[in-house]
Subunit: 554 residues, 2 copies
Amino acid sequence: MLGRILPAFEWLRAYRKEDWRKDLAAGLIVAVMLVPQAMAYAALAGLPPVIGLYASTVPLFIYTIFGSSRHLAVGPVAIISMIIYAQCREIAAPGSPEYTEAVLALCVMVGLLQVVMGLFRAGFMVNFLSHAVISGLTSAAAILIALSQMKHVLGVPLHSHHSIIGTLAELAARLHEVHPPTLLFGLAGTGALLLLKKRWPRLPSALLLVIAATAAVRLFRLDLAGIAIVGEVPRGLPRLLLPGLDPGLVPALLPAALIIVLVGFVESISISQLIAARERYRVDANQELRALGMANLAAAITGGYPVTGGFSRTAVNYQAGARTGMASFITAALILLTLLFFTPLFHYLPNAVLGAIVIAAVVDLVDVRGAIALFRLKRSSGLSLLLTFIVTLSFGIEIGVFSGTVFALLVFIWRSAHPHTAELGYVNPGLGFRNIKRYPEAATFPGVFILRVDASLYFANMAFLEDLLRRTVHEKPGLRWILMDFSGVNDIDGCAVQSFGALIDAYQDAGITFALAAVKGPVRDVLERSAWPALLGKRMEYASVQQALDAILE
Amino acid sequence: MLGRILPAFEWLRAYRKEDWRKDLAAGLIVAVMLVPQAMAYAALAGLPPVIGLYASTVPLFIYTIFGSSRHLAVGPVAIISMIIYAQCREIAAPGSPEYTEAVLALCVMVGLLQVVMGLFRAGFMVNFLSHAVISGLTSAAAILIALSQMKHVLGVPLHSHHSIIGTLAELAARLHEVHPPTLLFGLAGTGALLLLKKRWPRLPSALLLVIAATAAVRLFRLDLAGIAIVGEVPRGLPRLLLPGLDPGLVPALLPAALIIVLVGFVESISISQLIAARERYRVDANQELRALGMANLAAAITGGYPVTGGFSRTAVNYQAGARTGMASFITAALILLTLLFFTPLFHYLPNAVLGAIVIAAVVDLVDVRGAIALFRLKRSSGLSLLLTFIVTLSFGIEIGVFSGTVFALLVFIWRSAHPHTAELGYVNPGLGFRNIKRYPEAATFPGVFILRVDASLYFANMAFLEDLLRRTVHEKPGLRWILMDFSGVNDIDGCAVQSFGALIDAYQDAGITFALAAVKGPVRDVLERSAWPALLGKRMEYASVQQALDAILE
């Protein structure tokens, strides 16, 4: 029982010394990765970099206690930071106290939504976000994020645009304003990070870049030459505060809060479940929602901003050998130490380097190869990826996710309304009855039409099925039996039972008799409450096509 | 070829003398039923009664030539008349020339939509209107229609209300204004019609009532006592006119036009397809749409109003022995004769009798027994009926149809996201592998979990399936094999292939091996383009659970 409310309890009871050594190493590696990322993502969200560090302390402790994943590395992530920026800049100017207030209000809303959805077991909602939609969204968001960092990397104070065209146009028009020293830091930094990541993936390249760049700026006082720097990063622990949730802000922030909950949860749950399957423990989606919700509420009262489990950071944590949530505990403790002692060192950190860190982190998210693979695998899934990508780039994340999801569901409905069907013939004892289009040598039987319908029957595919039967009856004048293989009929709704029953009645009056084989339990239950037993009698109960055929040909 | 464009050609070629005798009798019976109904429905639509007769002439000829049903009885119907009234009274006052203009514009739009949809083979759209939604809509519409006739039956000029509550409240408040002689005609007429229909269903009761009531009013000049009468019904053929389609009206009329197309088409296609199945000929949905569209365009240029195939009128036509479209031809010819010679006879026809005819015609449409049967058959289908009924009564037909349809589709999505699954065990050679919950005596095999998933796999049910596997692995520590019966997996999308593949990979790393049995062709095609063959090899190709188990236990 205690283990269900506090999953940490389970691994703590069995905690061993060798776990500690592994967790310590993994916790350290993630902390080294997290410090620069947290500051960079906070800047991406339009917040002072220290907020990113605050969000990487208490929320991690809280998640470690309540979360059911032992490997999830919680903290600021790029895509959520971008959604926050896109939404909150509509409400207040980034940098103003009102802006910070709006972000905290959003953080409270995200936390509350997650806790409430977790309590009402609404974790299933995330299932309707398909991987294709998430992939299209991520690629588009990565491009938008990279573009948003151009102002830091080029040293040109660009305006915020809603469309990618607007941003690109302004960029082109103001290219002459580029600040060459800043550009040097930005370009060289991005290049170095990408190169190091490729050659020495285990190197803490972002931290090394931060140290090198900060030292260079400090030594040569490049800030006086116009290189924008982070400035004072306050030292010390985050202060507790009770963020007010201005009711007037709620309607404006709700769509963004919902998208943050859904997108953040998908990012978090997909990686944690894969690791859990490999390590043979269970991750409970609703417990995860509640744990992330409490982490976000903790972020709100300690001056942080919305967090979730980061995909690549979690993978690093797992590959570095993390055994339990203790690794995240250690990460958070190290960030706390950083806040206590090392923040003054970041004074001369150039903004261009933070921009470079963001760009290097999101470049990989543009997954062209994955999109092509999905297209090859199944055209319709690829199309919903592409649609989400284009709409997100053009109209923003909320509309992109919505239209991609609706499209994916419509594709599913469309396909189930036009299901695959097969006329069966007998091949051999091993293969039994098969689609005669795939097995042209299959034997058919005069006067008998054996039909396999690969679909649950419901109102939307009734017309398709009825039309198929009509065509068949028309084309085969000598037809006397229609034998339907129901093994693919997983479900049947009331309308299908009634209208298909009426058709069976009409055909049987016209001299064509129906028989069903391999009717599944749940379908049988519905049929037995209908007029079908009166129409079909024993002909509803054949266990297999073979049995039905034997009875018919007898 | 000619037969495809002009289906009438087919039956005309083989026309025989005995067909003519049968068609003549049926055409006469339908005409006798249609004359009073056409006038009553036109009045229901807020139009002069003669418009109903106009709509029962040329449109019938046109449909007979182009329609693919040989038995469909086209003409004015109650539900469409009501939609027209509900929509057009928003645009102009019933009785005004602008009102007639709006109805004609609507008729042109309906006709054009039908022709265009038929040409683009969009007849499938109607499949998404479930019978449950149509049934809920019909019952609610019948109540709304009956209430709308209260003004005629009671002799109280009631206002038009949007909600049923408003109508009932006004009715209650103005009950003292009831005109007793009118009420007598209304009540006695309705009662007589219902009684005659029950006792002597083949009697042309509506026509008899019309004759009796008109004679009574004329003889005793009851119109002078305040009984509202039809007044002058112009004699002669409808005049040709070219209705203008005011572009400003299009947006306002479009929702109503779409609903008329869909609802009218459902009413028409369902009865014509049932009869066609019984008589072994084919009705082509898109040809039907085009034929009805041309009939409506003909209605528009001959001063009629929107028509469709009437459900009960078609049933009467069929039961009266109609063999071909010639029966409808005869009906239309008889209505033409009526227009040429008999319309003056309707001068003294009381409006209350037209109201009684409408009420008697729609009372049967309130199908409580059918709703209960559907509820018993399948709760979710019953719920979408109930929802459509309530929303239609409260907010009108458009919103009712929309919300009922969306609900029905969401139910389908919901169910497919939470599919039925069964752990299988071996029962006996006849029954093979069955759900161990239904066959507790079935044998299971240590270390092997046989799972049948009764669903197409797609993004929305991945989480459900993955969670089921996780729970199973957790509950069965000795598990070494997961054998999946794919006979119910009718389709698989790209996201499901990828995320389920990743899970298989993770489990196989953890020592649990997967095998698939009875993979269908379309699913196999997708899987073969993915990483699954590398993960599963030969274990993807077992033809049956038995074969897979033999290979595993070997």
